[in-house]
Amino acid sequence: MFVRILKLGAILAVAIAVIGGVVGFLVDGERGLLSALVGTAMAILFTGLTAASILVANRFSGTEFFTAIFFAVVMGAWIVKFAIFLVLVFLLRDAEWINPTVMFICIIAGVLGSLIVDVVVVATSRMGYVSDVTLPGE
């Protein structure tokens, strides 16, 4: 399921990048195009990282410290992601080759789009309901 979220997220990223790129190009030429591409990439990368971190963390399922490892990986990826995002925003804000407004709109479009993908995938996928309880005698 998380793989599907990542795949659909990538498709959505391409769509937003194309639309945002065209609009950005019309608004502000090459600067707008570049801002749209970078903004979309940032939004999809950073939102996709949560799903990716859960996929990585689930590789440890069945091990003794799975719960601890799971939350460490997922929360750790989350905090690192935000630190990197903050630094990127501060760096890109004053860059001359960036149109802040186009970038902001593309980031919001990417974040909201990925939310829609998440909800649609979760709502349409089957969730495992498997117990790991073993009966006496088994």
Binding site: T47, T50, F71, F82, F85, V89, I107
Partner: protein, 78 residues
């Protein structure tokens, strides 16, 4: 200058305060989401898989708020 106006003087971009505020909400949100998931798994370990998925949705929504909050830096100028 009058002493009362000097007391409340703030320099720089007031949007800086916004980044702090943008961090508080999602921090509380993710804390509650993760904490409640751990609680749920502790009560019913066999539901861990489903709770994990629901936790993912919860985190996705709270982090979206944080992303938008931080990205507002792009549009706030002075």
């Amino acid at each position: 200058m009058d002493a009362t106006t000097v007391l409340a003087e703030i320099n720089g971009n007031i949007a800086t305060v916004g980044y702090g505020l943008a961090a508080i909400g999602p921090a509380i949100g993710v804390g509650i989401v993760v904490g409640k998931t751990i609680e749920g798994v502790a009560r019913q370990p066999e539901l861990a898989g489903r709770l994990q998925v629901l936790m993912y949705i919860g985190i996705a929504f709270t982090e979206a708020l944080a992303f938008i909050g931080i990205a507002t830096y792009f549009i706030f100028t002075n």
